[in-house]
């Protein structure tokens, strides 16, 4: 199997990254925003793994960091979802535009 070029992977991760960004900016639903954040994170994870694989084949830091990031993001998602659930319990809604009570 011919080795795929780095660029192909990068294209995927860029698409993922910007899809995440786009989603983060445009979505009004907290869950969708959270999903977008995951997309961004994962695209970065891919990049870590890629660059480790292509540029420093003998080393493992990139992979470790990816694993670490996945772990952190799992925690983060847990916290975020807990917050979202609480918000939902309080105001029966998870649209960002309604969350302005902490302002002013």
């Amino acid at each position: 199997m011919e080795k795929l070029h780095l660029e192909y992977y990068l294209v995927v991760s860029i698409i993922m990254f910007f899809a995440g960004i786009y989603g983060f900016i445009t979505r009004r639903n907290l869950l969708a925003i959270l999903i977008s954040i995951e997309l961004i994170l994962n695209s970065v994870d891919i990049n870590f793994a890629l660059f480790n694989r292509f540029l420093f084949p003998g080393q493992l830091e990139g992979f470790f960091f990816t694993l670490f990031a996945i772990g952190v993001s799992a925690c983060e998602t847990a916290v975020a979802i807990a917050i979202i659930i609480n918000i939902y319990r309080n105001i029966r809604n998870i649209q960002v535009k309604n969350l302005e009570q902490l302002k002013d």
Binding site: I21, F24, V96
Partner: protein
């Protein structure tokens, strides 16, 4: 002569004592204390007068005596001193003030008996006496100004003595503000005069030293010399206190005060302060600004005629007396205005001072008599009087004496003094003399109108028969009547003259005869119209309705003043300024605040708290910078 200091100081101590401890004293005690202190002052004044007039003459001229101490420094030359200047007019004024004040103090024990604030009344009377005495012994023009203001305030306090009566409050306010306005002129005059002469001292100003005025020699303003302006402004101050037309509006209203106060302040003493001021500065007026003296004579004549006309139709007896006072002060001013300085030319000055003296006595008598009448019938209106001659014999005879004196019938004191003023006026200008003679006739007419309407005419019915006043009130009446009877032949020219040398009085019999004749005709007319109840006065009033109403309304001057103060100053200036302050000045400041709030709101828009918006901005910013870095 050092003891003269005590004359002035005693009433002040009495004021402090009565003012601070008054509440703890029984009213009667307060009255006695006040009266006793004044009696001491009066006795000392008589002593001072006797001593001064017998010993101070050096080479045919009275030498002034003075002492003073530094009170406040302004510049190298200008400083206020407080002190005593004893010279003939000051001594005369000391005698007049302490005498009248003593009489008023005594009289008030009976008149004010049982009034609320009796102690306060005596405290104010003492304060007034102190200020007035301080004014007449002033060694310099600034000391005079100081006491001038104090006199104004004590007058304010006394007019407003019945402070729960709105009319009294309004009258006191009016009196203070009108005279204060005039004092502004006085102050600016003092500032001008002292700036150019470098001194406040009367002795230096009146020394006849022309070099004092050299500095101002060339300075003119609107065609008149600056010293002339200064003296005219100072005269405005005098005109305010002395109720000269058109600054007289406060005096009739001031009759809201207790009647003895009117006798003391608004008849005998304070209102002649303006005359005294001009007399004090007379050499300066005569030498530096003779034009201003002519102005003074004209103002005096106009005032005198105006007030006499108005007095003929007033029905409140105190107002009649008030206008009569204004008219008589006009006479004094005319006397000063037409006078010369040296020797025989100084007739007007001497006559004016003499009239001041006699007028103080008989006008105080008239007011105190009016007080006794008011005390008996509890009203100021002529309509409520009439036929009182049976009930008030003492009051009636003393009142009659005063009326004869003011009408200028010999041998009462008013005849001598008024006649000399008329003689001096005729000497100055026959036209002015004629006006003044006519005014003298009017005086006789309205005084006897007053006399008949009170004591004769139709008897009004009273709930209980009016009774004669108590002893403490009649003694002053009798005393003052006695003075009025005997003061005429005093050789006044020996004591008080313009150049402090002796002046021999000899009556000008043509003038005297004519004025007596005029007075007698006027009295006869008044007798005809008012002795018995008659319909003629009413008919006259209807046939000259316009003139009558105008005179009754005092030629609408009060309305004019009201218009100026209410409409122009209050609504025309102050309200717009206050509005301007709240809306424009403050509006601008608030505008700044609103503006910065708007700006900060706009800036806050960025800090929306919307993470998505932040990300958007970050993204765009990154792109922008990337583009910048890559392509530029």
């Amino acid at each position: 002569m050092e003891y003269t200091f005590i004359i002035v100081l005693l009433p002040f101590l009495s004021f402090l004592f009565l003012g601070l401890a008054g509440k703890k004293l029984a009213p009667r005690v307060a009255g006695y204390v006040g009266t006793a202190v004044l009696a001491i002052s009066a006795a000392l004044s008589y002593l001072a007068a006797w001593q001064y007039f017998t010993t101070a003459k050096v080479g045919g001229v009275f030498k002034p005596w003075s002492m003073d101490f530094r009170w406040l420094n302004f510049t190298k030359d200008l400083h206020i001193d407080l002190g005593m200047l004893i010279d003939p007019i000051a001594v005369m004024m000391l005698v007049v003030i302490t005498t009248v004040s003593l009489m008023v103090h005594l009289y008030s024990i009976g008149y004010m008996h049982g009034e609320r604030g009796f102690q306060r009344y005596y405290a104010f009377l003492s304060l007034f006496t102190f200020s007035m005495l301080g004014l007449v012994v002033a060694t310099n023009i600034f000391q005079m100004y100081i006491f001038w203001e104090l006199v104004g305030v004590s007058s304010y306090l006394l007019i407003g003595f019945y402070y729960t009566k709105p009319e009294a409050v309004a009258a006191s306010k009016k009196a203070f503000i009108v005279t204060r306005f005039a004092d502004l002129g006085f102050l600016v005059g003092i500032l001008l005069l002292s700036f150019y002469t470098g001194t406040f001292s009367f002795e230096r100003l009146t020394s006849g030293d022309a070099s004092l005025f050299n500095e101002a020699g060339g300075v003119t303003f609107m065609g008149c010399s600056v010293i002339g302006w200064a003296l005219a402004l100072i005269f405005i101050g005098g005109a305010g206190k002395s109720a000269m037309f058109p600054l007289h509006v406060w005096l009739p209203d001031a009759m809201e005060g207790p009647t003895p106060v009117s006798a003391l302040i608004h008849a005998a003493t304070m209102v002649v302060a303006g005359v005294y001021l001009v007399a004090r500065l007379f050499p300066v007026y005569y030498l530096e600004a003779p034009d201003v003296l002519v102005l003074i004579a004209i103002v005096g004549a106009v005032t005198s005629l105006y007030a006499a006309v108005v007095a003929c139709v007033q029905t409140d007896i105190k107002r009649v007396l008030a206008f009569s006072t204004i008219s008589q002060i006009g006479f004094m001013m005319v006397g000063l205005g037409v006078s010369g300085l040296e020797g025989h030319e100084g007739l007007g000055y001497m006559a004016s001072m003499f009239h001041l003296f006699t007028h103080a006595m008989f006008k105080a008598l008239l007011f105190l008599g009016a007080g006794a009448i008011i005390h008996a019938v509890h009203s100021n209106e002529m309509g409520h009087m009439g036929g009182l001659r049976k009930y008030l014999p003492v009051t009636r005879f003393t009142f009659l004496i005063a009326c004869l004196a003011i009408a200028g019938i010999p041998p009462f004191s008013g005849f001598f003094s008024k006649d000399e003023i008329l003689a001096a006026t005729f000497h100055f200008s026959p036209l002015l003399g004629a006006v003044m003679s006519f005014t003298a006739g009017l005086t006789a007419f309205y005084m006897f109108r007053l006399y008949y309407r009170i004591f004769w005419n139709k008897e009004t019915r009273h709930d209980h028969a009016p009774h004669e006043a108590p002893r403490s009130m009649t003694i002053p009446l009798v005393f003052l009547a006695f003075v009025t009877l005997v003061a005429g032949p005093i050789p006044f020219g020996k004591f008080v003259t313009s150049d402090r040398a002796e002046y021999l009085i000899h009556l000008d019999w043509t003038v005297a005869g004519a004025s007596v004749a005029i007075a007698l005709v006027a009295i006869a007319l008044a007798t005809l119209l008012y002795r018995k109840e008659s319909a003629i006065p009413d008919r006259l009033a209807t046939s000259f309705k316009g003139l009558y109403t105008a005179a009754y309304k005092r030629f609408y001057l009060d309305e004019l003043y009201l218009f100026v103060t209410k409409k122009i100053i209050f609504n025309g200036i102050s309200r717009p300024i206050a509005w301007f302050d709240r809306h424009v000045v403050d509006g601008t400041m608030n505008g700044f605040a609103t503006l910065s709030q708007r700006v900060s709101c706009a800036i806050r828009g960025f800090q929306s708290g919307q993470v998505q918006q932040y990300v958007m901005v970050i993204l765009l910013g990154t792109l922008f910078i990337t583009v910048l870095v890559l392509f530029i």
